[in-house]
Symmetry: C2
Subunit: 249 residues, 2 copies
C-alpha cells in the first residue's frame, strides 16, 4: 500500500495583478480552469492579494512626518518608504542602519512592517493586506472546490539566517496542530508539541515558487485532516502577543 | 505539460533506535529496500540520529552543580535535566518559570538546549547530535542513491506561537537560496530574498510525520536543483552568530 503523500506544485505565472482584479478567477485560469480538491490548500503570496485589494502606495504622494524623516536619516532609508512603514507599525522592535523591524497592527514582527518595493511598479510600494484572514476566507469562498487558502509572506528570524515563509492569513486549515495530549511509544506525554502547521504549509509551497517569474500561487495537495470544512480562526492564532514574546518582561 | 511537482511521504515507522544501530539500514528497510532518487531529500528527526549515536543521558546518574540546582529551583524544573541542559549551553538567552531558552554550543537558540525526554525511555534524556552536519554527511554516504539528508528538530520562535521545523544539519542540499542578484518582472532587484531552503524542506516533511507513532523519516522528492552533488557547508550557514542576532548590541 503506498503511503499517503503530499504534493506541491506551482501554478502558471499570473498576469500582473491590478487593484480590483478578480484574484480567484486568475488563479482558476492558471489551474487550467480545473476545480481544486477539498483537501488542497492554495498558498498565495500576499503580494498579489495586496495588489488585488489595492494595498499599494505611490511613494511620491506620501507626506513625510518629522518622525519618519528623522528615522530615515538615522537608518539611511527612503523617507517616504519609512513613512509607509510607520503607518503600518504598532511598535518598532529594532532599528539600526538599514534595518527596521516592526510589530505591525496585526501583531506580525517583520522587516519594514511587510512593506516591499519588489514585484511592484517603480515608485510604488505594496503593504500587507489589512485583514489577511478575511482575505483568505473571501478567496476560499470564490475558488471552485473550496480548497483551504493560505496567504504567505517571507519573514526574517531572530536567530537564523535566511527568510522563512509564514502564513499571515488562512482559511480552512488548522493553523496549529496541538499534540500536547498525545503520548509517545513509551507512554510518555509529548513535550512542547504545538506545531505551526500553517507556516509549514507556506514553507512547503515556497520550495516550488520562482519569486522572480510571477508564480505567486502554489497548490499543496493531500493535506487530509489539516483541512477543515469551517474556515476557522485563521492564522491569527499563530501571533504571539507582545507581552508573551520570548523577550517580554 | 504537467508542472514539476514536489512529493512528501513518510516512511514506515522505525523500530526503537538504540546506540550503535545502523540508522541508514533501518531507513532503507523502511523504504522497502528501494534506493532513493538523486534529487530526493531524506529528512530525519534528530532524535533517532542522537539515539543511534548514543547521545543519551540517564538522568539519575547526572551530578548536579550548584548552578543547576539553583536554576532548577528558580524555574521549577528537574535539577538533573537542568544540568544536562547547561552542559549543552553556551549562553542562556532567557530563563523564567518553566522556560529555559539557550544558545547551544552549535549556536542554535532553542528551548532546553534541545534536550528532550519525549520519545525516549523513562528516566533518560536525549541531547542534540554533537555535529549534525557531520551526522548528515555520514548518513548520506550510507544511503543507496545518495539522496540529500536533512536532520530536523522543532524550535519555538520569538514572535510566533507553535513550533517550526528547523534543519539542524544537512548534506547535499543548498541550505540557503540567495536570490539577491535576481530581478523581478519590473526589472527591479528582489529585496531581502535569501531563503532558508533547508528549513522549508524540514517544515514540508513535518506535515507528513506522525510524531507519536515513530515515523522519524520522511522523503521529500523532486527537489531538483536544490540538491547538490557536493555535501556542501551544511546547515551551519543558517546559524546567526550571537553578535548578529536581531537583538544584538
Amino acid at each position: 500500500m503506498p503511503s499517503p503523500s503530499l504534493s506541491v506544485r506551482a501554478l502558471e505565472a499570473l498576469p500582473e495583478v491590478r487593484p480590483g482584479d478578480d484574484l480567484a478567477a486568475l488563479i482558476v485560469a492558471a489551474n487550467d480552469g480545473r476545480p481544486f480538491a477539498a483537501d488542497d490548500c492554495v498558498v498565495v503570496s500576499h503580494k498579489v492579494v495586496s495588489k488585488a485589494e489595492g494595498a499599494l502606495v505611490e511613494l511620491a504622494a506620501v507626506e513625510v512626518s518629522e518622525r519618519a524623516a528623522a528615522l530615515a536619516a538615522e537608518l539611511d532609508k527612503d523617507p517616504q518608504l519609512v513613512q509607509v512603514v510607520l503607518d503600518g507599525t504598532a511598535e518598532i522592535v529594532r532599528a539600526r542602519r538599514g534595518v527596521l523591524i516592526c510589530r505591525t497592527h496585526h501583531g506580525f514582527v517583520c522587516a519594514n512592517a511587510g512593506v516591499d518595493r519588489s514585484n511592484v511598479a517603480e515608485g510604488w510600494a505594496v503593504t500587507l493586506p489589512a485583514d489577511p484572514d478575511g482575505s483568505a476566507r473571501r478567496l476560499r469562498a470564490a475558488l471552485p472546490g473550496r480548497p483551504a487558502v493560505v496567504i504567505a509572506d517571507s519573514f526574517g528570524r531572530a536567530w537564523r539566517h535566511g527568510q522563512a515563509e509564514i502564513a499571515i492569513g488562512c482559511a480552512g486549515l488548522r493553523a496549529m496542530a496541538d499534540e500536547r495530549g498525545a503520548t509517545d511509544r513509551h507512554g510518555r506525554q509529548l513535550e512542547a508539541t504545538v506545531i505551526a502547521t500553517a507556516d509549514h504549509v507556506a514553507s512547503a509551497a515556497d520550495l516550488m515558487r520562482q519569486k522572480a517569474s510571477g508564480q505567486p500561487a502554489v497548490v499543496v495537495g493531500g493535506l487530509g485532516g489539516h483541512v477543515t470544512a469551517e474556515d476557522g480562526p485563521g492564522a491569527t492564532v499563530l501571533v504571539r502577543a507582545a507581552a508573551e514574546d520570548l523577550f517580554g518582561a
